[in-house]
């Protein structure tokens, strides 16, 4: 906890006053985290306990997705998530606007941290597909229940494949192929590309917009859907 306290201290100096009327419990959290000395240390301990419980609860909720992560390994991930969430909460305390209870706001950080850690841990050593090869498209068609008998659906997939080649930048293609075609988690792609969930999602979003427009232009989507 000592190194955690140091990380927290570096990020919470000169915090401005709160902006909105708060419930008593949320106010107590903010006052404690903005205090000094022993009062602040106690508030940080309480926050760490709260976020560790949240991380464990979330890891338990997702256990069916990652059954191979268990025991000490899982608890270690939860502790790392709680540590990082405490640092994030204290660094972003100014961003808490009082629109929710403080604990709800803080829970979100624990959930985010544990979800990223679980996904990355589960993917360790995995290879991210980088090409929209025939196997990818065959699997996609099979998953969607598309056969050659469903001519329009098969046409749509063929048109999409052309559009990916012709409309997307190399980065957009890389992200779209991994996330949309091969179901690789955005957090995993972000880790592999030294990026963030938000930045990778933006690349995916721009790629989808380009593809929708192209498919609409070529008559494969109606305009309302493409917009």
């Amino acid at each position: 906890m000592n190194s955690l306290l140091l990380r927290v201290a570096e990020r919470t100096q000169n915090a401005p006053a709160r902006r909105q009327e708060l419930d008593a419990e949320s106010r107590a959290w903010l006052d404690g985290l903005r205090a000094t000395g022993i009062e602040r240390a106690r508030a940080l301990d309480r926050l760490h306990d709260l976020l560790l419980r949240a991380a464990r609860a979330e890891a338990h909720r997702r256990h069916h997705l990652y059954p191979e992560i268990d025991g000490v390994e899982l608890d270690d991930l939860c502790r790392q998530a709680a540590d990082d969430a405490v640092v994030a909460v204290t660094a972003k305390l100014d961003g808490y606007r009082g629109a929710s209870r403080f604990t709800t706001w803080a829970y979100a950080f624990a959930i985010f941290e544990v979800s990223v850690k679980l996904r990355r841990h589960a993917w360790r050593g995995g290879r991210i597909p980088t090409s929209d090869d025939d196997a990818t498209w065959d699997r996609l068609a099979e998953r969607a229940g598309i056969s050659e008998a469903r001519v329009e659906s098969a046409e749509l997939l063929r048109a999409l494949r052309h559009a990916i080649t012709e409309e997307l930048t190399a980065r957009q293609r890389q992200v779209f192929v991994a996330v949309a075609l091969n179901d690789v988690q955005i957090d995993v792609v972000a880790d592999q590309l030294s990026s963030t969930r938000g930045a990778i999602y933006k690349v995916l979003h721009d790629a989808r917009t380009k593809l929708r427009r192209r498919l609409e232009r070529d008559g494969h989507l109606n305009q309302e859907r493409a917009r």
Partner: protein, 73 residues
């Protein structure tokens, strides 16, 4: 799976999308609002759109709903 399902799965929906950072910053408010019976998808439509399009944020949203439900029970 219909063509519409397939298109939505691959291309997402086409409404205004708040993105991951903005959605994260409003998530606590969104969840508490929903659990108190407010129509948050109408109040924050770009957040709702993002939760439909981003599986990672959607899973986080579901986790937060569950945690708050348990805390409030």
């Amino acid at each position: 799976m219909t063509d519409n399902d397939l298109t939505t799965q691959l291309l997402g929906t086409a409404g205004e999308d708040a993105g991951c950072e903005e959605t994260f910053s409003r998530l606590a408010e969104y969840v508490e609002g929903e659990l108190s019976g407010r129509e948050m998808a109408e109040l924050l439509p770009a957040v709702a759109e993002h939760l439909r399009n981003c599986p990672a944020c959607n899973e986080d949203y579901r986790g937060l709903v569950e945690l708050v439900r348990v805390r409030n029970s």
